[in-house]
């Protein structure tokens, strides 16, 4: 735990963001920062592996196609290193095989980049309440109800 001598946000969810597209990273920070504590916004997998253990994030939001390393590999190594944070993948890949692979790997969330604005905050809150979230399910149910 971070010792802050009483000067800290006490009840906030701590997020670590990783995306190699700096514009998306900037948009995510603007969108999430008012409600959550963004502990880091990183653009490569190596930095995530280096920084995550010391920052105690509750949630890590990971792009699948990071420049230096696949997001799946980053998730695997985080798990191996014993980092307890939950992982949400945020990606352009909407293929169901990717979604399955992500959950098989131990991820608890999967959000399509095409659905950031309707899904991401829902996903974070659902997961922090102990649930799972997949844009694939939401997209499927909204299609069938339409």
């Amino acid at each position: 735990m971070r010792v802050q001598a009483g000067i800290d946000l006490v009840h906030s969810i701590r997020l670590l963001l990783a995306d190699d597209n700096l514009e998306i990273l900037e948009t995510l920070v603007d969108m999430l920062q008012p409600a959550y504590v963004v502990v880091a916004a990183l653009s490569d997998g190596a930095s995530v592996l280096e920084q995550a253990p010391g920052l105690n994030p509750d949630l890590i939001i990971l792009d699948i196609s990071l420049g230096d390393m696949a997001g799946f590999e980053v998730a695997r190594q985080l798990k191996k290193a014993g980092v307890p944070a939950k992982v949400i993948f945020l990606t352009v890949h909407e293929n169901i095989d990717f979604v399955r692979a992500a959950f098989d790997l131990g991820a608890v969330g999967y959000v399509f980049k095409s659905r950031i604005s309707p899904d991401l905050i829902d996903a974070i809150n659902t997961i922090c309440a102990g649930g799972r979230f997949s844009s694939a399910d939401v997209a499927a149910s909204s299609n069938s109800s339409a």
């Binding site: 010792v3 802050q4 001598a5 000067i7 920070v29 008012p34």
Partner: protein
């Protein structure tokens, strides 16, 4: 066992004399690796040198300390931020901690206070000047909302606003931020829409109110 190497610091203050005096005060104990005088050079220097700690002012040209500090913290989360400022408002101190500061010291504090603050921050503790009410800062910090309505405009827009308010043309702003002039114009008009202002003068007034530049 070897002694731990001295912490590596960057000092950022647009008052050169003060920055140099600060460097002289700290150098027996810490390694001052750079002194910069505006927020944008701070950003560049910090990302290149990855210091252990940055001592930074809030009111700085080209990019204010709060915005520069926040951008650095997101990219270099291991680097600690210690604000050294004239601004004694609890709201501003709370905002600094909200953006990830580890320390907040006033410029009219004793030199010994700054040294104490740095030693604490280097050891992973936080420090708030005793001249500011700690309870108020903690209260504000945990209210959950930023003290201003600044969150309504994006970080990119805030950066552009400061440069425009300092008198740069949209083309010059585009040069500094490495954007296309059209992109700067787009952000400027989006921001005017968001803030509900129609003229450049009103936009400037907003920047002054936000203490991005001095009146």
């Amino acid at each position: 066992m070897n002694r731990k190497p001295a912490a590596r610091l960057i000092i950022a203050d647009d008052h050169r004399l003060l920055a140099d005096a600060c460097k002289n005060l700290l150098e027996p104990e810490f390694e001052v690796i750079a002194v910069v005088t505006d927020g944008r050079s701070l950003l560049k220097t910090a990302l290149a040198l990855k210091p252990d700690l940055i001592i930074l002012d809030i009111a700085m040209p080209r990019l204010n300390g709060l915005d520069a500090g926040e951008q650095i913290r997101l990219k270099l989360p291991a680097t600690k931020l210690l604000f050294l400022t004239m601004n004694s408002a609890a709201e501003i101190a709370a905002e600094a901690f909200r953006r990830g500061a580890s320390g907040y010291v006033l410029k009219h504090s004793a030199a010994e206070d700054l040294l104490t603050a740095i030693r604490k921050v280097v050891h992973g503790e936080s420090y708030l000047s005793p001249l500011i009410a700690r309870e108020t800062v903690t209260f504000l910090l945990n209210q959950g909302k930023a003290h201003t309505d600044e969150r309504r405009i994006t970080k990119r827009q805030t950066e552009i606003l400061q440069l425009l308010a300092e008198g740069m043309s949209m083309k010059e702003v585009a040069g500094v931020l490495e954007l296309k002039p059209g992109t700067v114009a787009f952000h400027k008009y989006r921001m005017m829409e968001t803030l509900g202002v129609r003229t450049n003068a009103e936009l400037l007034e907003y920047a002054i109110k936000r203490q991005m530049i001095s009146a």
